[in-house]
């Protein structure tokens, strides 16, 4: 029996080729309440949700220089929810005037055997952390305000230690490739949060020490 034909061209349409638009900033814990208050007013009228997640970052070292990074994340507050596997590409080097960081993003829901599966595939866990905070929504925009804690003993999410006395704030939008209208909306939303917080595009490659 013949094998069915396999398309050689990669799939570029539908929801597989999404871009993430990202703006980041941080607030000191002392200013957190005011920020949450303002976000509650600005964002869609819903009860703001808190979350606690545990993220593991897996690396696949190839022969070339840069390792392949995959992020596996699970909810500690909703243990039965599926895992979330995410691939983030390199930031798009577009025009400098674009207000947000744009990078390719692939999101996949996975079952609870994800870490074992990645290990079998040859990935190795590089680091893990626990993050908890609030998540807001305004239309397609997602605002996440969270603190990041390092995991002291690998695998033990009870024993964590805050990394800093500030909260990380991320404003993100997922949109299909080609749609560039979101960065304007993000910028105007970020304007409304000043001077409480300055959200800007931070190139992750420039953060390595």
């Amino acid at each position: 029996m013949e094998a069915p034909p396999v398309t050689v061209m990669p799939i570029t349409s539908g929801t597989i080729n999404m871009m993430e638009y990202l703006l980041q900033g941080s607030v000191l814990d002392s200013a957190l309440e005011s920020l949450l208050h303002r976000l509650r007013g600005l964002c869609d009228n819903m009860e703001p949700e808190t979350f606690t997640d545990h993220e593991l970052v897996f690396l696949l070292k190839g022969q070339q220089g840069n390792p392949f990074i995959l992020r596996a994340r699970r909810s500690l507050s909703h243990p039965t929810a599926p895992w979330h596997l995410r691939y983030l590409g390199q930031p798009e080097v577009g025009d400098k005037s674009r207000h947000a960081l744009v990078r390719n993003c692939v999101d996949v829901a996975a079952s609870h055997s994800l870490p074992d599966f990645l290990n079998e595939m040859g990935f190795r866990m590089d680091h893990e952390f626990v993050t908890s905070g609030h998540i807001f929504r305004k239309g397609a925009m997602k605002v996440v305000v969270c603190n990041v804690s390092r995991v002291l003993v690998p695998g033990n999410t009870e024993n964590t230690e805050r990394m800093s006395l500030s909260h990380l704030v991320e404003l993100s939008v997922l949109a299909p490739a080609g749609q560039d209208t979101m960065s304007e909306d993000m910028r105007s939303f970020a304007e409304q949060l000043k001077p409480l917080i300055h959200l800007e595009k931070i190139d992750p490659s420039k953060q390595r020490h």
């Binding site: 929810a81 995410r86 996975a110 079952s111 998540i135």
Partner: protein, 394 residues
Amino acid sequence: LISKKKSLATAAQLLLKGAEKLSKSVAENQENRRQRDFNAELLRLRSQWKLRKVGDKILGDLSYRSAGTQPWHVKLEAAQNVLLCKEIFAQLSREAVQIKSQIPHIVVKNQIISQPFPGQIADDDIRVQQLSSVVMPHPASAPFGHKRLRLAGPMAYDKAEISNLQQSEGLLEKIIKQAKHIFLRSRTARTIDSLASRIEDPQIQAHWSNINDVYESSVKVLITSHGYEQICKSIQLQLNIGVEQIRVVHRDGRVITLSHQEQELQDFLLSQMSQHQVHAVQQLAKVMGWHVLSFSNHVGLGPVESIGNASAITVASPNGEYAISVRNGPESGCKVLVQFPRNQIKDLPKSDVVQDTKWNQLRGPHKEVNWSKMEGRNFVYKMELLMAALTPCL
């Protein structure tokens, strides 16, 4: 006497005590009610506290300074309504752009123009209640979306399970469907009513059902002849009016689907009315003792009708002397012919073949009846009179 006085005095004292107690309790009740009213008032007032923003703080004003500011309250309600309407409108505009439909929707400023049927304009200014309920993703990094649909991958759902999860239809689609149904229903009613007022014979009756659905209504259409409702009731139609189509269930079991075109329904009803006349002759023949020789709902002879088909029937008198042939079409109207026995025809053409006198008892040529000159208020009445005239009384 003294003992009587004493006993009266004690009785009086008891009564007085009782009265005192009663009046005390009534007074207490009143006092309690006043207290409760006060607390209720206080509660109501506290629910109306004013908020003011000073710098980056928000102050609440609980004072009674602004107690009873009715216009402020009204303004706030109006502002909230505006925001809700804007949100709903935004949702509908999004759907208008997203959903695929044959006729594109036009979103202009604060109106969404959607044409339910071609050739119609309906301005939809939305006032419907709808609240969007979205579940936040857990973990937080996951994209927004249907919570259960995210399980489709990890739980390996098959096609049937996924299609169960898909949201059925958006708000705009629902509104459009309802609008289409309402238009169709009012057009159907208009068609039936215009026919009823235009055509007196036969009569068309519509009995609309009280129990309807937002997407479906039904009406029972009866075609009758005045004075002969019990005899001639062959044509009874149940019309189920949907969103884009009308389904007609005939009394004889046939199911016909009509489109939303008004003309189609009108033509259909006209053809049914034409058939009714011929059916009526058939029923009348049974009652009058006449024999049905032939009957056809769709004759293949004679001029072609532009609407439907002509129907025809031939009935013979009880003793066989006379026969009446009727051809009725929606466009061509009715044609009635009577067949006389040969011995009643003057100037019968002599034939070499038919020579015996016994053949003179048989029916011979046909003669057309001047139907418009016949007495009778409607077709069936005229037919009854004709039949009666041709049935000799013994």
